[in-house]
Symmetry: C2
Subunit: 381 residues, 2 copies
């Protein structure tokens, strides 16, 4: 497999796990509840500079994980943001040291609702505490401390990842000099919430959900989770992208009409729904999507007090065909941040691929990220 | 309840049923298969003119039924298009004679997949034949013949209803002088198909679906059908309408965060999903939605031959915030019809309510329908 990563990939990588909180020294959540132990799965790419001036911290989206770049042994495809991260790539691992961690509440190595509750010896299920974007930030900060780092050059994330970047920059601006927020939102709309609500209902109404105790019952709400994923995928792509990709093409010229997979777009959705079951947990989907519904940091009157006193340089990016988090969401963030006198670079990028664009390789998008990161590094030296 | 319909309602109405095809004289479908008996539930409003010149035939949408106007005893709300139909209303029952029938494949009195198959004594289930919009037209024409009518002043429908109007006008233009097509499409996009595909998967993957034999099993795929309906409702409203109607309002100021109905928009969706179960059947949802996916009348090279020889006057309406069947869908129909030299009036109406607008009372919309219908009636006399 070596040749695959000859050109630009960081190559073979390994996920590490750190116990950041214990039962005795638990994580205190925004709602006051306590959680311990908390383990966090993370990866790093590149080499830390002697003065630690080259750290970029990644925050992943709803269904991401720590494996952002490079290859695990046996991988059929590299990490989810591999096109961005590697030697010579915009997040150039010859110069930057990148940290990527699985979110609290996730299911890919970090403690979440599917983890064992030491109090019962069984999975937390719905007894897992409700989370807040601020809790993700608390855990990210603990990981940085664990790595001996106190301040990073940039925090970067798309979608829910961008929401974490925003929250972190507002509550602890001293942790970073730059913040990059891509295709994100500071406040979901009714339509955003509606899509997530129906996805969650598909999961919780699945008879195999067992009120969240499905692991103990030896089953899982696969139907509900795959329906949730299929629906979400419709919203991740623009209507034009779906048309360009599939149109009304039949899946198989010889197929007969029926209620199966007649159209190519149905095959695509089916594949997305089924593949998701292999890597994601329904409880994490519930917990992480609900966090997004409640996120509304600018509703606090003092939201901008900290960052105004310790300014962060922002890069805000949106995509013109993204109808899940349209440019209007980014403009709202821009309005608040500029209103507090903060330095913000905003750019609406043109891309046919809708919300998914933030994960894809686009020349202007990548050049914009590269220029911002290069300048940040230059100023830090 | 009398006072409710003093102003403009047609008052108490009754659904009638006609056996239009029998086992001996079956309905021959577009795909060649035969179906009998076929019963059709229908209602009429107003009085037929002695010269039968005042007939308007309604075609309903995916989840509509024959009960378009007036009140059934015990109704909490009138028929689904009551705001349009009644004395003094645009479809003025003092002057027009309106016919409204439940679709073939439906579940509200007309033969459908939930009806008893005389060959087995059990519900057809998935043994019901696949349908085509042309089959709806065949049954509509049989109902007209049953009523002693051969030619109508206008055929009118929105969404799937408009698709029937289009098909009917193309294949049997001699049946009508006018055709009114509202918020419809001649060809679904990949995104349209995708939403319907996920809705159908929610139904067919529901463990209570039993491959369509759920009635015999004494159950029904309620979870799947309600998920399908909730998802569809998101697409029926514009994002702005959802924001204006619900925004981020909590359902209950005292509710605690969790995975239930926290936001008002969640309560709305829940209500839509649950109420739907009382009046609709999952098999009808599968069959009727699949018909829409395959509809593509202009794909036939001879599509416009009949209507070009016997021109129909068209009124095509779309709504500017409808993202299920956007104005682009209507423009495609306009392009084809005008290309054949047919007289078409097209209007994009402004309404904040998205696809749902075609069911709502809007002054400009209703005035447009009224003017077109009045002129049609005038010319017929």
């Amino acid at each position: 497999m070596t040749e695959i990563w000859q050109d630009g990939s960081v190559g073979l990588v390994e996920t590490q796990t750190a116990r950041l909180f214990t039962a005795e020294d638990p994580l205190v959540l925004a709602n006051g509840s306590r959680l311990g132990p908390v383990d966090v799965a993370y990866e790093t790419y590149g080499t830390l500079a002697p003065d630690a001036s080259n750290v970029v911290y990644l925050c992943h989206a709803l269904t991401g994980d720590a494996h952002a770049a490079g290859w695990h042994p046996g991988d059929r495809r590299p990490g989810w943001w591999d096109n961005l991260i590697g030697p010579g790539r915009p997040l150039d691992t010859d110069r930057f040291f990148v940290v990527s961690a699985n979110l609290l509440g996730g299911c890919r190595g970090t403690t979440g609702p599917g983890s064992i509750d030491p109090a019962t010896g069984e999975a937390y299920g719905m007894d897992f505490p409700l989370l807040d974007v601020a809790d993700f930030v608390t855990v990210h900060r603990a990981l940085l401390a664990h790595l001996g780092l106190s301040r990073v050059l940039a925090v970067l994330g798309g979608s829910l990842g961008g929401m974490q970047v925003l929250q972190w920059s507002l509550s602890h601006p001293q942790d970073m000099t730059h913040a990059i927020i891509v295709a994100a939102s500071s406040r979901l709309t009714a339509q955003n919430i509606a899509f997530s609500a129906v996805a969650r209902r598909a999961i919780t109404d699945d008879p195999h959900f067992h009120e969240g105790r499905y692991a103990a019952a030896g089953t899982s709400p696969d139907v509900g989770l795959s329906i949730a994923r299929m629906m979400a995928h419709i919203t991740y792509l623009s209507e034009d992208a779906l048309t360009a990709k599939f149109g009304r093409a039949p899946q198989d010229e010889e197929s007969t009409r029926g209620f199966g997979i007649d159209f190519a777009v149905e095959s695509y959705l089916d594949h997305q729904g089924q593949a998701f079951l292999e890597r994601f947990d329904a409880l994490s989907y519930l917990y992480l999507s609900r966090v997004m519904d409640y996120f509304d940091p600018f509703a606090r009157p003092d939201a901008l007090v900290h960052v105004a006193a310790d300014p962060v340089r922002y890069l805000l990016l949106s995509f013109d065909t993204d109808w899940r988090f349209s440019t209007a969401h980014t403009l709202r963030m821009l309005h608040h941040l500029e209103g507090a006198g903060l330095p913000v670079t905003f750019r609406e990028l043109s891309s046919p691929y809708g919300h998914d664009s933030f994960l894809l390789e686009d020349a202007v998008y990548h050049a914009t990220l590269r220029a911002f990161l290069d300048r940040a590094l230059e100023e830090a030296r």
